[in-house]
Subunit: 227 residues, 2 copies
């Protein structure tokens, strides 16, 4: 609890569009400026998605390269975390940006339901993404959409597929996945400490209307924050 919280800023998720909110930064230039503002306000990690020319989520490595370069130039020392999430691509295309060797990348290690579909992360794809991250020295952020995903990180660590202490993010408030539930949140923390040690880092992200609530819980409990 004595360490200052690390703030992770998710500049542009994969879901909102300009039509939903004209203030959402979508071009690389807008994203870099928005990240810069968050960096000056204290954010230490930039969690990054990119969009194509129509504003749709993409895994295009060339766009990720421009965003990474822009953040590194404008925000020296900021940790760049690129998303390998399934809303932006399918199969191994999701990891096509990993040779850019960002500091971190998100890694989903299990499957779960999303509001209208299955969020598919087949075991062989998860293992391939983890191997690519090891090969390029990228630290994964384990996206825990459910409790078993924390245990999966333990299994992968024991098999040598994850280096160091896993960094787990609890994702709560996605419809048809895990709701924002305080008892579960506390059990997630207990589980991380039991599997990875008292000092294991963790962070939490509340989706949509749950964002402020999860940030409160994480700040109280000594975790890192996603804003």
């Amino acid at each position: 609890m004595s360490n200052p919280a690390i703030i992770c800023v998710a500049i542009t998720g994969s879901v909102p569009t300009k039509a939903d909110n004209p203030a959402v930064p979508v071009t690389i230039e807008e994203q870099v400026e928005s990240t810069h503002a968050a960096f000056e306000a204290g954010a230490a990690i930039a969690h990054c998605h990119v969009r194509d020319d129509e504003g749709k989520p993409t895994s295009d490595p060339e766009r990720f390269a421009r965003l990474k370069e822009g953040i590194e130039t404008h925000c020296p020392g900021m940790i760049v975390q690129l998303s390998t999430g399934g809303r932006s691509g399918a199969g191994r295309a999701r990891g096509g940006m990993l040779p850019l060797a960002p500091d971190m990348a998100s890694l989903s290690v299990g499957s779960n339901n999303f509001p209208t579909r299955v969020y598919d992360n087949p075991p062989d794809l998860v293992e391939w993404l983890a191997a690519e991250m090891q090969a390029h020295g990228v630290k994964p952020e384990i996206e825990a959409f459910d409790l078993s995903h924390i245990f999966q990180a333990k299994l992968m660590k024991d098999r040598g597929e994850l280096d160091g202490t896993p960094y787990v993010q609890f994702v709560m408030g996605v419809k048809n996945a895990m709701p924002a539930d305080r008892r579960v949140f506390d059990f997630y923390i207990e589980t991380v400490k039991r599997l990875f040690g008292e000092d294991a880092p963790w962070c939490a992200a509340g989706i949509g209307r749950h964002q402020a609530e999860l940030n409160d819980w994480a700040a109280q409990a000594g975790g890192h924050l996603r804003t």
Copy 2:
């Protein structure tokens, strides 16, 4: 704890074959005889899968009808529970036997990983299966392969998609899903009681080498058993 445990017997899973173990009952006649023996030994619920002529899992309603009729004839009063699990079929074919109006049917309400693939239960299919069960007066057994699946049962109950108190089965020990972990098992029970009341029923199934362990835990904690 004062109620006697209900024993559920899974006569033939969807995975083992005669090649693995020649004693596995695979024909309808073998399954009925095996269920009869378990019934006489005290089993109250028969959890049923069926196989095609090659011994492969199927959702064929005609085979389910023959198995149901055989159990009803040989084991009067036994509760017949038919599987709508995804190893036996795809899409709505998984629920093709529900018009037989068995006492119960299994219902997976979320998605998760299995040893080599994604166990796909898309939200629209889950809702359709639940609606078919309501239409035919079939009591679902909610298959909880992960913690969020218990919360999903609560959401479905609140939306009127499940009648009465949900009957949840904890499934543990499937590789790449939830391992057999005693703290999680206790948290599952706590969650069922919190969401559905102190007297809400639950049962537990340990897969493969975890079967005996889960039965011990369930017997100690006042749950029903799957053998």
